[in-house]
Symmetry: C2
Subunit: 414 residues, 2 copies
């Protein structure tokens, strides 16, 4: 099991308690609940609220071991996973769940200067940068074009919508509660996208509701504005327009995390995702499964690849583990079928859209409650759920939200 | 007001609501509750549990402003505080509360290789190092002398006692709950001190109880063992003995934080602490007060300097603010008198010593409850109190304690 994300965790969980020795390898000793990372970045939640130690998850599954380390490659013939510290782990069955990374689509400067939101480290760095920028705006408003900072979010998918919504709330809390001397009329949050709709993966009515709500809360939306270049000081659009920005958050989609995938001598699909068969195993290596964002997981047997969603990762990880159990039992494997349970995105306090597989889009406070409930249920571990619930309850009551700490990283030391 | 520690915060709080413009300057945007830092270092609490944003503290005191920045010097004649970003803040009254730093007493290698526990950054780095070391011991026990890591705590005062006690609990949780493959009989926590008693600032019976309890929980205590040298691999004692250690925690006392104090053209007392008069003002500059660990605060008018304790910091900060109000009102200032409210130290779960100013030492579960209650009362902010209480309640019930996350710092990336 390589990778402790949704897919790897789901696979290991399915194998817990079975008479197999399972080793989960990850370079981090914790699982990160990615759907809430944007709240860490905007100081609504603490890192520990969305991260849970892998060892604690498997505290009661004595057959699941954790190995803290970075996998650097696989010897498919010798059936060995090599680690950065020089060790090699032998396997009978392997599940590769190495996940995704931000997709910069070759936009010049994006990889260097835009801030992705895909790891806990990303979220912490973005938060430190946002809060330090707001403090700088309090002390030196004249150093910002227009007298106040502008924050740009690139990508109007769920992550971009959630981040832009949380950013205006953070600005509001900082100005109203923390009395930062920032002119609310001058500080801007701008959501940009190359496409012509907000939440393009949702039905049109959900996108219109999200766009209307965000605009009502003060987010500027610029659709059909492809970003051509990112610099440390802002973004240039394809039409030559320049927008000065104190931070550019990159929510422009994900691709496979190529660091590990590239080392595998197997066929790659679109965007570097590893090609897998109907049962999610690699052609010619029925003992090797690739799941989650790392794989071009077919939504239906033989169909196109499923989107890179947490649901797909969880279901595919679980599926791979079930196939391992079938192989151990000497039973043929089954093809993977993705069950769409619907999608949802939060826009901010008391506003979200939830689009079930069938039936109408749920929005507003009801959508938000649905979003809240589902995310709490999925959050790993009781302790985390409780803390997150306390935080959200606070916020709901309009008390100051999570502690806005600038936890020292070299770049933010004043 | 320079410094957002106990002393600076107490001073600003006293001035809140008065017709004065108060600016509190700190390089961190949060106040750190130092007495619980050792729990962050040993993964019992999260950074956000012991840190509270300064702006949130003063959310309801519109006359108290916060300035995020590092003070680099004071022009006593022009009455200006200079900041690292080039700004200068004018003042009528100044309170210097720049705090303390670890005292390495000139031990070779200590400043470079020992790990102090005086800032939130110190605590995070120590925690990352401890957890990464334990993971390394799980993967490669043979790389440790004796087959398991040894942790050395230098200094048998309250911080050293609390850290050593928390370390054996962390080891126990990691081995028992997280199933780290570390031989509990080989991994050691060693508490060393140059003196011949544990908790020397307490009455002898408290020290004996602490020593007995720590030993019973598996801490090795080496008294009368001055450390002569610290290397990345362990410590050498004055008698030439060498002790290999995976981490050396430095709890060897504090001195003044000299970075700022050194820039002040005023007389220094013992250990670089700034000499102050009876009312805590600087001789010749009745508008400048120095309080807390930065000052050689006299315990009684004309008496010796008070110990560097949170209580002294809080009381002296408050006193300075009261004197500013007296001066504004045209009334002569009062001398400072330290009111000793007693001292306490936690040894671990259900064990602490509390020594009130009068009366017998309270210890065991009762001492622990006293310690717990007092620390909760003093923790700034309702939200923090609640989270800490939840954490402690968990731990009390012997559930796995706080999340043991290795939050990426360059040094711990595997």
């Amino acid at each position: 099991m390589i990778g402790g994300g949704f897919a790897g965790l789901a696979a290991a969980r399915r194998l817990g308690g079975h008479p197999l020795e399972v080793t989960l390898v990850d370079q981090h000793n914790f699982h990160t609940f990615l759907p809430l990372l944007y709240q860490v970045a905007t100081a609504g939640l603490e890192p520990a609220d969305v991260a849970y130690p892998v060892r604690t998850v498997f505290g009661r599954d004595p057959n699941v071991m954790f190995r803290h380390g970075r996998a650097t490659g696989v010897d498919l013939e010798a059936r060995l996973v090599t680690l950065a510290d020089g060790d090699a782990l032998a396997y009978d069955h392997l599940v590769v769940a190495t996940g995704a990374a931000a997709q910069f689509s070759g936009v010049p400067g994006a990889a260097e200067h835009a801030r992705p939101l895909y790891t806990l480290g990303d979220a912490r760095r973005l938060r430190n940068h946002l809060l330090a920028t707001l403090e700088a705006a309090d002390a030196h408003p004249e150093s910002f074009d227009g007298g106040a900072p502008v924050f740009v979010v690139v990508g109007a998918g769920p992550t971009g919508v959630e981040t832009a919504g949380a950013l205006v709330e953070l600005l509001d809390v900082c100005i109203r509660r923390d009395r930062l001397r920032i002119d609310p009329g001058r500080s801007r949050v701008v959501l940009v996208d190359a496409g012509d709709s907000v939440l393009p993966s949702f039905r049109a009515e959900a996108g219109r509701y999200a766009a209307g709500t965000l605009t009502g809360r003060g987010v500027e939306i610029r659709l059909a504005h492809p970003v051509a270049e990112v610099s440390p000081h802002g973004v240039r659009f394809a039409d030559g327009q320049w927008l000065t920005a104190a931070a550019v958050v990159w929510a422009g989609g994900v691709t496979v995390d190529g660091t590990f995938a590239a080392t595998l001598p197997v066929a790659k699909g679109r965007g570097g995702r590893i090609a897998v068969g109907h049962d999610l195993s690699v052609t010619g290596h029925p003992e090797v499964y690739v799941v989650g964002d790392a794989a071009a997981v077919p939504a239906l047997p033989g169909g196109p690849a499923a989107p890179q969603l947490a649901q797909v990762a969880i279901q595919s990880g679980d599926h791979a583990a079930r196939q391992i159990l079938r192989r151990v039992a000497g039973v043929p494997t089954n093809p993977f079928t993705y069950i769409d349970k619907g999608i949802m995105a939060a826009i901010g306090r008391r506003a979200a859209v939830a689009q079930p597989r069938r039936g109408p889009v749920v929005r507003g406070t009801l959508g938000w409650l649905a979003w809240l409930g589902l995310h709490l249920v999925y959050l790993v571990g009781f302790r985390n759920r409780l803390t997150v619930l306390v935080n959200w309850f606070w916020r709901y009551l309009d008390w100051p939200s999570g502690p806005r700490l600038i936890v020292a990283d070299a770049e933010t030391e004043p």
